[in-house]
């Protein structure tokens, strides 16, 4: 008798043993012993393996293991069936309206969600994500961005100082300078991060918020390209039907500069409280990188051009989800946080 024959034998014996029977737990356990017990028929076959020539043993072992697991699966099933049998009266009394085992799920902060979404949108068109320091020197936060001391533009941003020369960054634009100091063009980066403004806390403003700065420097970059890219962003973030409006503005480190508005997502442009009846919502600032900024970082402005933009994450998130109080982001109220998965 070959090993295979013996295996087949056991299989048919097993089939006979369980055939047509509604087995009790005890009966199944006896069958288990008979086949899979320490002295059962499968164990005997394992013992016989040592009589085989060494080169055949590994194959035999494999086949026996398959047999063993096959039988034990069948026996497990029988055991379950037997158990169910004995509790059938309980089963029929189970109340199917009882709740399931709820597993509490946590949440990702809405600001983080927005940042990740924006990173994905710009990541798809080749913008790398980089990060910069939250505390920086006056040079990187102001001076290198064409905002010297006693420049009226400093009034646009109330600043927290650590020392006379070290500030809590007022925008992620400081990282533009760091990136350009470390890297030669062409480059395309976005910089998400926390920024600080010395402003009293209210429904509309907080002493800190998050921004994403974007910077693209290459050859022959145009204002038209900046428009196209930011329109792509707006549509990706707010939806295909949202309209975009560019209007001239002023930032010391871009020229020409623009403010970008989107058609109000609440009233679809017809005018409501959120858009102050204008039909438009201001969402970001942008512009062509000022040649003086290139000069500061040692780029040749005759050779390179580029655009930069900055947008407020809280504002984008508030608009997207209709959140009306910026403080909700920062007080850690789980009843708020749980709404963002």
């Amino acid at each position: 008798m070959t090993l295979q024959d013996k295996i087949n034998n056991i299989k048919s014996q097993f089939a006979d043993a369980v055939k047509g029977l509604s087995l009790t737990k005890k009966e199944v356990s006896d069958i288990k012993n008979q086949f899979l017990g320490r002295k059962g028929s499968v164990a005997q076959l394992f013992n016989e393996m040592k009589n085989l020539p060494p080169e055949d043993r590994s194959q035999a072992g494999k086949e026996l293991n398959i047999l063993k697991s096959e039988l034990s699966t069948k026996i497990d099933n029988l055991l379950h069936a037997a158990a169910d049998d004995s509790t059938s009266s309980l089963e029929s009394s189970i109340d199917p309206t009882l709740p399931g085992d709820f597993i509490p799920v946590g949440s990702i902060h809405p600001i983080e969600k927005t940042i990740q979404e924006i990173k994905n949108i710009f990541g798809a068109i080749g913008f790398n994500s980089v990060y910069g320091p939250e505390i920086d020197d006056d040079y990187h936060n102001f001076e290198a961005l064409n905002i010297p001391h006693y420049h009226p533009a400093r009034d646009m941003q109330d600043t927290f100082y650590i020392t006379d020369d070290v500030v809590l960054r007022t925008h992620t634009s400081n990282t533009q300078i760091h990136v350009m100091e470390e890297q030669q063009p062409p480059l395309r980066v976005i910089v998400p991060g926390r920024v600080y403004r010395n402003e009293a806390i209210s429904v509309r403003s907080y002493c800190l918020f998050h921004q994403i700065e974007g910077l693209y420097v290459s050859k022959n970059v145009t204002f038209a390209e900046m428009k196209g890219t930011l329109e792509y962003f707006v549509k990706s973030f707010f939806g295909q039907n949202v309209k975009t409006r560019f209007r001239p503005s002023y930032f010391p480190f871009t020229e020409p500069s623009a403010e970008v508005d989107v058609s109000c997502i609440f009233c679809k442009g017809s005018g409501c409280k959120t858009c102050k009846q204008t039909g438009w919502l201001e969402i970001l600032g942008c512009g062509m990188v000022d040649p003086d900024v290139f000069l500061k970082v040692g780029y040749d402005s005759e050779k390179w051009s580029g655009y930069a933009f900055g947008l407020g994450i809280e504002r984008m998130t508030m608009l997207k989800y209709g959140i009306d109080d910026i403080r909700l982001f920062f007080n850690g109220d789980v009843r708020f946080l749980r709404q963002f998965r």
Binding site: R38, S58, G61, K62, N65, D101, F102, I103, P104, G106, S107, I108, H109, E112, Q116, G126, N128, Y131, P133, E134, I135, P152, D155, M156, F160, I162, D164, V166, L168, R188, R194, Y196, N198, I201, C207, S218, N220, T222, F223, A224, G228, T229, E231, Y232, F246, P248, S249, Y250, E255, P256, S257, E259, K276, M288, S305, F330, G332, D333, V334, L337
Partner: protein, 675 residues
């Protein structure tokens, strides 16, 4: 800045209501909103001081509509008195005051202004006082140049001296405040005393009163930085200082002076001395700008033709000549923001209309290597934590200094905090988490699992900029993980839960924890445990220190964890190689030991691992029991041990042998009895 539409109409013709006018200006870069039918409100950017007047806004309207600008005509009636005979102007610091011009008007009668003037002033929010004060304000609002009027009889020594103040010098300004000067402040003095804080505010000692008859009108150009610095240091911003610090028209100041004199003599009946006192030691150069022919088109991204350039420059009063390669342009003196070709391109772009510029969206591939987001793995980690029930929070980085001191020693302080509650930068994420825990407990949310990822700060004199920023990920739990249900009892958030989180996390990032045990010295937490992989700390867990709870008034147990982000993200970035699926069945054996209560489960586990040979692949503690079945000083501990071989099918005999040695060693070393 408020603009009266009626006043504006006197300077330019337009057929627009206030809303349309505001929209037109906004589209041109001067953000405006209507304030009813008769005024518009401008939100000016600091680069456009030229728009801080009705004439400037009228010019914008003219540029954007093509309608002609109507400048006010000035007709001076001159008397025989020649001004120079009686009075002189000395500029001691011509960097701070490059030009100082004045006219003298005599024999005026101070009285009320006519209605047309007072109503225009009131429309833009200025209270009418008397004809002298009103004229100066009127010209300020009309032409944008600040003027100052002195009572000539109160000026001693027949002269004006412009000089920097001495440190500690005291003056009393028009608002009756005594102000102490430093040597950056610029003063207007007569022969004896300061009579005005240049460019910011006059002094009470030379103010025009009801009885004034002779007036000196000042129209000057002050260095913007000097005025800005003075105004900032005194925290005193006025209509005048706001214009001087942005840059005023160093040529147009004469027009403003003439206009003031004209209106004064017309409304207060005075005689204007012949001639202007004009101290202008070094003529300010207004430099030509070269604009290459195609540069505007290239940067904007569409064709900006010569015709458009000429038309636009002409409306903007930029005189422009065609040259071989492009244009040579001389900007007007009221536009301090136009210095470079790019500034002219911006003018062209905004007048062309940002809406008219086409959109161009062509993605030209990656410029450089794609860099993996350094926070890619942190994002996965956050997803993991959210998946097992943690809520991510974002808390204020600014906090109370006393509270911060409970967490770290080297606290970084803010020089100009908003309040005591926000005077230092957070040295740890724990205080923000605790604040949130407290906030939620107060709102009947007792079961909390929170984490935050963010930057924490330390002061360090030796570090660059005197600070160190570190990225942390920290969490806190309290209450019940799974509030009691019909199938299970309470499952508390506690140290063992957190230990499990860290073990699962290790599993998630595919590393094997080599140790998770009581720290030799608790730093972050009470009963701190450190999870490590080889010698790398992966995480710290423990109970929140009671000393750090001071002031929070929380009386339930809190447990926290802190993750070593560097280590975890490094491990996550590594690709773990595929391991062959086991081909031979495993043998699983359960062992239940009865041991003395003081024996730690970990000691037994360690021995099991030692004796388990390399066939042992897993040890799990599956039951722990103390009670009737065991004697009172004993406990029963069950382990499930898995044996596996990659090469062969294991026999019961060999596993029996290993089991024996495990049973023996635990008995010999720990007195454990197999049950």
């Amino acid at each position: 800045m408020i603009i009266s539409i009626e006043w504006l109409r006197s300077l330019v013709d337009f057929d627009l209501n206030s809303q349309d006018l505001a929209d037109l200006l906004t589209a041109g870069g001067t953000e405006a909103e209507p304030g009813g039918e008769s005024i518009i409100k401008l939100d000016l950017t600091p680069n456009r001081p030229d728009c801080m007047s009705h004439l400037g806004v009228a010019r914008e309207v003219s540029v954007l509509t093509g309608s002609k600008l109507k400048r006010p005509e000035i007709n001076l009636s001159k008397s025989d008195t020649k001004v120079d005979d009686s009075f002189s102007i000395e500029i001691a610091n011509d960097n701070e005051c490059p030009r100082y011009a004045a006219r003298i008007v005599r024999n005026i009668k101070v009285g009320p202004s006519p209605d047309w003037m007072s109503s225009r002033l009131e429309a833009v929010g200025i209270r009418s006082i008397n004809n002298v004060v009103d004229v100066a304000n009127y010209v300020l609002m009309e032409l944008g140049h600040p003027l100052h009027t002195f009572d000539l009889k109160l000026l001693q020594g027949n002269k004006i001296v412009v000089r920097l103040a001495n440190d500690g010098e005291k003056i009393v300004t028009l608002d009756n405040e005594e102000r102490t000067m430093n040597n950056h402040h610029l003063l207007i003095c007569d022969g004896k005393k300061p009579v005005a804080l240049a460019g910011i505010m006059g002094c009470a000692n030379s103010e025009v009163t009801e009885s004034t008859t002779d007036i000196l009108i000042e129209s000057a150009y002050f260095d913007p930085i000097t005025i800005r610095r003075g105004s900032k240091s005194l925290d005193l911003a006025t209509e005048a200082s706001k214009r001087f610090e942005r840059g005023t028209d160093f040529e147009g100041l004469i027009t403003a002076l003439d206009r003031t004199a004209e209106l004064l003599s017309e409304l207060a009946g005075g005689d204007i001395d012949r001639g202007i006192l004009d101290a202008y030691p070094n003529k300010i150069l207004n430099e030509k700008i070269t604009l290459q022919a195609d540069k505007a088109s290239e940067l904007i991204g569409c064709t900006i033709d010569e015709k458009f350039i000429n038309k636009t420059f002409s409306a903007l009063e930029i005189s422009c000549k065609k040259t071989k390669n492009g244009f040579s342009a001389l900007p007007p003196t009221f536009r301090p923001d136009l210095k470079r070709d790019i500034d002219l391109i911006e003018e062209l772009a905004r007048v062309y209309g940002y809406g008219t510029i086409p959109s161009d969206f062509q993605y030209d591939g990656n410029l450089t290597e794609i860099k993996v987001d350094p926070l890619k793995h942190v994002a996965e980690l956050k997803r993991f934590l959210a998946g097992i029930g943690f809520n991510e929070i974002s808390s204020n980085s600014l906090m109370n200094s006393k509270r911060a001191a409970l967490f770290e020693d080297n606290i970084l302080e803010v020089q100009n905090p908003l309040s005591n509650e926000m005077s230092v930068l957070r040295p740890s994420l724990l205080p923000g988490l605790l604040r949130s825990i407290k906030y939620n407990l107060n709102r009947s949310e007792p079961n909390l699992a929170l984490f935050e990822h963010g930057i924490v700060f330390a002061a360090d004199k030796k570090a660059e900029l005197g600070k160190v920023e570190s990225e942390h990920l920290t969490g806190i739990v309290c209450g019940q993980r799974n509030p009691q249900g019909w199938r299970s009892g309470d499952e508390p958030y506690d140290l063992f839960y957190l230990k499990g989180v860290i073990e699962s996390l290790a599993d998630f990032i595919n590393v094997t924890l080599t140790d998770i045990s009581e720290a030799k010295k608790s730093l972050l937490f009470n009963n701190e445990q450190i999870a490590s992989v080889n010698d790398n700390v992966m995480a710290q867990i423990g109970a929140i220190r009671t000393d750090q709870l001071k002031g929070y008034d929380i009386d339930i147990p809190l447990f926290g964890f802190s993750i070593n982000l560097d280590f975890i993200t490094t491990m996550m970035a590594e690709t773990s190689r595929y391991q062959p699926v086991p081909q031979f069945p495993a043998i699983v054996r359960d062992f239940t030991f009865s041991v003395a209560n003081h024996i730690q489960a970990g000691e037994i586990e360690k021995l099991i691992k030692q004796k388990g040979t390399d066939l042992l692949t897993k040890v799990e503690l599956v039951d722990l029991y103390a009670g009737e079945q065991v004697s009172s000083d004993n406990k029963s501990v069950s382990f499930r041990i898995k044996f596996e071989s990659k090469e062969r099918t294991l026999t019961d005999t060999e596993i029996d042998k290993i089991s024996e040695s495990i049973i023996q060693v635990t008995e010999n070393k720990l007195g454990a009895k197999l049950r």
